[in-house]
């Protein structure tokens, strides 16, 4: 069976007044139906841009300059706006970060859930109302019949995010893109939303692309994880392996930066330095200026994505090359502590 979503060699460029800069470089990944792929990275890593490009919703000065995005074998890159509109909300849907601002304040939530139904399914008002009540019930909103007459400002953040999910799922899409849907919510509400998303994923048999920077959320929801850094994919693996045995120093850094609640004396670990901007031209591996284990080759040549063991698992790091070729083990752990104490 073919994959639900196949992204190949995707490169996204932005035109600015000064120059053209590359936000996402040669990203490839695939997703099966019923699978959740988490895209993880810091702000500016290109994770949100990647997810927007799947919908064809890049900002006006951005464009996919290379590569292909295939949904159920159908090429999305190069489609006209009109063709993309038929796909958006129908086959691919998206949930946004801020439930506070992602709903139009002047319409009732019921009206807004009905929008995709009326756009794509051409439902009558009555049919759409019945369906929207049903959808609200599915996302766990109590008294859906009353709630459809309420305005967004009358609902709490968690409730609004549920409404957004209902709106996204209205036409039963095969692919759901979630751009940090829980970042703006309380931790308890986060857990509820993640549960609902997981349940509905099973129910609808959707593929989910989940963009986040919260490793806790990743552990909760992901089947597979793709780590991005400055527009590059640097590591892909299933969630279990990635958490237990991260290969890339950046992934290790990310996991190390999750604070441990049990250890009160622990100092917060950080990855020194900050994400380079799109315009910065860094020779070699784009992480090497911040990498505690940078070698000479890292500064000169950019490593390729190297397969590690099984299918759909790869790392973009010279250490891996050294590992597999010369079978030398490099003490990777402790690298960041060394940098910190410097």
């Amino acid at each position: 069976m073919g994959n639900l979503l196949e992204v190949n060699d995707l490169t996204i460029k932005f035109r600015t007044a000064k120059a053209t800069s590359t936000a996402v470089r040669n990203v490839s990944f695939s997703l099966e139906a019923g699978e959740t792929l988490c895209i993880v990275g810091e702000s500016g890593s290109g994770k949100s841009i990647t997810s927007l490009s799947l919908m064809g919703l890049l900002p006006e000065n951005g464009e996919v300059s290379n590569g292909s995005i295939r949904l159920n074998g159908e090429e999305l890159v190069g489609k006209t706006e009109e063709e993309l509109r038929k796909i958006r909300g129908n086959e691919i849907s998206m949930i946004f970060q801020e439930p506070m601002t992602a709903l139009n304040p002047v319409f009732t939530v019921g009206y807004q859930i009905q929008e995709p139904l009326r756009i794509h399914k051409r439902m009558s008002k009555q049919e759409a109302t019945v369906k929207s009540v049903e959808l609200l019930k599915q996302v766990g909103i109590p008294n859906p019949k009353e709630k459809i007459h309420q305005y967004p400002h009358e609902l709490s953040g968690g409730m609004r995010q549920r409404v957004m999910i209902a709106m996204a799922l209205a036409c039963e899409p095969s692919l759901l893109i979630a751009d940090e849907p829980t970042t703006a919510l309380d931790v308890t509400i986060q857990a509820q939303i993640l549960d609902i998303m997981d349940d509905l994923k099973e129910e609808f048999g959707m593929g989910v692309v989940f963009v986040t920077h919260d490793m806790g959320v990743v552990a909760e929801i992901a089947d597979r994880v793709m780590v991005m850094y400055a527009g590059d994919v640097i590591e892909v693996n299933d969630v279990q392996t990635l958490f237990e045995d991260p290969k890339h120093p950046y992934t290790k850094g990310l996991l190390g930066a999750v604070p441990n609640v049990d250890d009160e004396t622990q100092e917060m670990k950080v990855i020194p330095g900050s994400m380079p901007s799109m315009e910065d031209d860094i020779p070699g591996c784009r992480f090497h200026p911040r990498c505690p284990m940078a070698m000479d080759i890292c500064k000169e040549k950019k490593p390729a994505l190297i397969d590690v063991g099984k299918e759909n698992a790869a790392v973009r790091c010279w250490l891996q090359e050294v590992d597999t070729n010369a079978d030398t083990t490099i003490a990777a752990s402790g690298g960041f502590e060394n940098v910190l104490s410097d």
């Binding site: 919908m55 919703l57 006006e60 509109r85 038929k86 796909i87 958006r88 909300g89 129908n90 849907s93 998206m94 946004f96 970060q97 801020e98 601002t101 992602a102 709903l103 139009n104 304040p105 002047v106 319409f107 929008e115 995709p116 756009i119 794509h120 766990g140 909103i141 109590p142 008294n143 400002h153 009358e154 609902l155 709490s156 968690g158 409730m159 957004m164 709106m167 996204a168 209205a170 308890t188 509820q192």
Partner: protein, 297 residues
């Protein structure tokens, strides 16, 4: 989990105000005393204009050579008569009809043009530069001069005054609408709408426009005052309504010749203009405060 949900929704229910948006705005507006006075004046004027034929004893054109220059408080003519013996009260009441019709129609045409241009300019980046440069061009003329220019081209009549003042209203409205569109289109719900497959027309007319209504309402109200004042000014200058039309501005122009003998002929229409303009301005101000979510009374 279900109990959690129940608590959460209950608390959010009790916090919120039950009133709808319109009720809340009206409540805030009523708290503003000046705005209430303005509303009362406008209301009285509208009632007078509608019921004009039933509340006057003489027609506005009816001359009585035996009762010219009667002062205020004369028997049968409580606002007096003019140099032809026409009843001032009747002319003022019929004049309010003209003022209101001209005001409403110029604002309606101005809004139609201004909203269309503003929406297009704010939403489509490519049209923005072209439309806004044309608007800037219109802005470069002083308003009354622009109106006079248009009337000079079209000829003097009340209809041409309406056309002239409408055109003059367009740029201001276009700017205000464009400004609101620019801020509204950056909201995440516009992106969310695009993500469910809504097209530009749907987003622009059904979702962005309703979010721009507050500044448009305020603009329309204060613009009414300007339109009425400009009509009177143009008529006073002889460019609008021509005698014997009972237009307030034209009445002042006719009355000023008798300023020393019968001052009421110029003063009464002047007061009528002043009250109307004052009323629309204070209501406009009141609405601006009531519709501004950042102003908590």
């Amino acid at each position: 989990m279900s109990t959690d949900l129940a608590i959460e929704t209950n608390s959010s229910n009790s916090e919120k105000k039950k009133d709808g948006f319109i009720v809340e705005t009206v409540k805030k507006l009523v708290q503003n005393k000046l705005a209430v006075i303005g509303l009362v004046i406008i209301f009285i004027q509208v009632v007078l204009a509608i019921s004009a034929p039933f509340i006057v004893s003489y027609g506005p054109y009816e001359q009585d050579p035996t009762a010219t220059y009667l002062g205020v408080g004369s028997e049968g003519h409580f606002l007096g008569t003019d140099n032809y013996g026409r009843d001032m009260w009747s002319r003022i009441v019929y004049g309010s009809r003209i003022s209101l019709i001209v005001g409403v129609s110029t604002v309606a045409i101005g809004l139609l043009g201004g909203i269309t241009l503003g929406l297009l300019a704010g939403y489509f980046k490519k049209l923005d530069a072209i439309i806004m440069r044309i608007v800037d061009l219109l802005f470069a003329f002083p308003g009354i001069l622009l109106a006079m220019l248009i009337i000079a081209m079209l000829g003097t009549s009340l209809v041409n005054v309406v056309i002239a003042i409408s055109i003059w209203s367009i740029p201001g409205c276009a700017r205000i609408v464009r400004g609101s569109v620019l801020s509204v289109k950056k909201q995440e719900y516009v992106m969310a709408l695009r993500s469910v497959g809504a097209g530009n027309t749907r987003i622009l007319l059904k979702h962005i426009l309703p979010n721009c209504t507050a500044p448009i309402i305020v603009f329309a109200t204060t613009r009414m005052a300007t339109a009425i004042l400009s009509t009177a000014s143009l008529s006073y200058l002889g460019l609008g309504a021509q005698p014997p039309t009972p237009e307030w501005g034209a009445m002042i122009a006719a009355g000023q010749n008798f300023m020393w003998d019968a001052p009421h002929m110029a003063v009464i229409p002047g007061v009528a203009i002043m009250l109307t303009v004052f009323a629309f301005n204070v209501v406009g101000d009141g609405l601006r405060d009531a519709l501004d979510p950042n102003m908590n009374v």
